[in-house]
Amino acid sequence: MRSETAWLVERWQTMTLIRRAEERIAEMVETGEVRCPCHLYIGQEAVAAGVCAALTTADTVWGGHRSHGHYLAKGGSLAGLFGEVLLKATGCAGGRGGSMHLAAPEVGIPGTVPIVAGTVSLAGGAAFAYKLRGEDTVAVALFGDGALEEGHVHESMNLAALYRLPLVLICENNLYASHLHWSERRVADNLYRAGEFHSVPGERVDGNDVVAVHAAAQTAVKRARSGDGPTLIECRTFRWRGHVGASFDLDVGVERRGELAEWLPRDPLRRVADELIERGVLDLERREQAINDRVNTAVEQARAAPQAEPEPYMERQEALCAR
């Protein structure tokens, strides 16, 4: 499928934004400026960019511990992201969560949380709400290959199929759940078939190909919007950094150098850039500079902001629990 060049430039921009922002976070993790645990998305940008391009602002995405990319692709504010990883009062969760707890309800991110698979059923519930109200909004759950090991995801798939919910399930299969390769966790490499038993159709796509991801997502979103129920999409991809933190090619206790060497040339971002250059787009460098500037500004804004402070939070929270 051939995409409009202008459309592709936008995807390239989104992916570049994620890449640059996360590289910056990685640096800040390494210097110790960022202290909260960060699970970097680098290498998987095509998934978030492709999926979110198929959505409206009202549609919601529900992520997990590795959601910087989801947040930015859906339109979360850059300053809010940096504010949050620095635990500033200006963070997108008010500095109450850090990297693993991002939210931007105004653009359809009710909250991402680090309990594996924790938001899958929540996405289903949002889809239930859209359907009950007769809206044509869609909820999208994004989760890793490890998440399919949590039984309640299977419950959610059954419920979503039974109630024909406008839900799209995106499994970002980066082959690992922390230090364990998929083959240490299951027998068959068949995640796109996870919903079959529950009548949730599944598809597998190259998660490093933003055009392919987008096409599959669009079909699924259309299905959801027209009342035909949920779809599961397995996006094959690879994370470049460690499970958590900034380290590049090693996971704690796992040597993945060889595998990484195979995946680096499949860089989803490089792929789009090459295609754009081939199509004669000449201003990528200028655009990249603009993105870098945005990142720099956001970092400076976040640095200048006040730390989230105990008093308001304790009072507010105790007030919630008190009379």
């Binding site: 949380v113 239930f128 919630l320």
Partner: protein, 340 residues
């Protein structure tokens, strides 16, 4: 005013909520059959349609998570667990998600909408059902910040607290007790709310304060009747809300009577009764004439046989005995201590 049973009052609250607010829906197990919910949800599906009164597969975890997601998307779900025991499968969405969400993302006033989720759980014990179908686990939830917990003991509260729970920014855990379903009492036909966190003084008295939770509030009243015949004047407080709980009202009463018995249908160790006793000990230490007594389940799983159940579940007799023991104690210890 009309008289309704506790179960009818719960049903009426549901019906009025469903009628008045299009955002309200009910989801969970056993909604289309009287087996699970007694008459407390009877025919709601016929009245409001099965799109808003949803009987589900046996998937406690995902169903509860779905209710939470629907709440975050602007609905006002009541997710129903016909037994508290089954709800243990849904601890992740309740504890990790709902309770923390209110702090992480939900704080109303911070431009966010709260977590307007009501979780309804039924304590359904006795009847020789045995250990896995008898658990009263409210203390585990009382411990959790970010979650409110109510336990109505009367038909009026059963209605008013449910309506208040749905109106609250939430999340709220609403716990009712099958043993109370046939109890009857006056209930206003109008929609109304009972404030979360407020205890009710059911009887005034001056010698001892009996503090009861849910079914045990009723037993406290019965105990007060017994004690009255012996010339002991007991004050009875129905706690109604477990989190937040009405420390002020309880403390004020015990400061006056100098003696307290806490009666709870849960286990003793680290139970709701421990919290209340500890807080009384801290707040009204100088007025206490005797230690705070706790009447609870023994620290064992529920038995099944009827004879064992009779020994297992305490009631008015045990409460009255505990109160008597406090009074018999006199103030001797007190004086000894003061002299030290």
């Amino acid at each position: 005013m009309r008289t309704l049973t506790y179960a009818q009052a719960i049903r009426e609250a549901h019906a009025q909520l469903l009628a008045l607010d299009a955002r309200v829906f009910v989801i969970g197990q056993g909604l289309w059959s009287p087996w699970y919910a007694g008459s407390s949800l009877e025919d709601l599906d016929r009245e409001f349609g099965r799109a808003r009164v949803v009987d589900t597969p046996v998937s406690e975890n995902a169903v509860t998570g779905m209710a939470l997601g629907a709440a975050l998307a602007g609905l006002r779900p009541i997710v129903f667990h016909p037994r508290m025991d089954f709800m243990l499968l849904a601890m992740d969405p309740i504890v990790n998600q709902a309770a923390n969400w209110s702090y992480l993302f939900g704080a109303p006033g911070a431009g966010r909408s709260g977590v307007p989720l009501v979780i309804r759980a039924v304590i359904n014990r006795g009847g020789e059902q045995g250990a896995q179908h008898s658990q009263a686990l409210h203390a585990m939830f009382m411990h959790l910040p970010g979650l409110k917990v109510v336990m109505p003991a009367t038909p009026a509260d059963a209605k008013g607290l449910l309506m208040a729970a749905v109106a609250d920014p939430g999340p709220v855990l609403y716990i009712d007790d099958r043993w109370l379903y046939a109890e009857s009492g006056e209930v206003s036909a109008e929609p109304f709310t009972v404030a979360l966190g407020e205890a009710a003084v059911r009887r005034s008295g001056s010698d001892v304060t009996l503090i009861g939770i849910s079914w045990m509030a009723r037993e406290c009243l019965r105990a007060a009747g017994m004690l009255e015949r012996e010339g002991i004047d007991a004050e009875v407080i129905d706690l109604r809300s477990l989190k937040p709980w009405d420390k002020e009202r309880v403390a004020a009463s015990v400061a006056r009577t100098g003696r307290a018995v806490v009666a709870d249908g849960g286990w003793r160790t680290a139970g709701a009764s421990a919290e209340i006793a500890a807080e009384i000990g801290e707040r009204v230490f100088d007025h206490l004439l005797a230690p705070v007594a706790r009447v609870t389940l023994p620290d064992t799983p529920a038995p099944a046989s009827r004879t064992e159940e009779q020994a297992y579940y305490p009631g008015a007799e045990q409460i009255a005995a505990a109160a008597r023991a406090l009074l018999e104690r006199g103030t001797a210890g007190r004086i000894k201590r003061a002299a030290a």
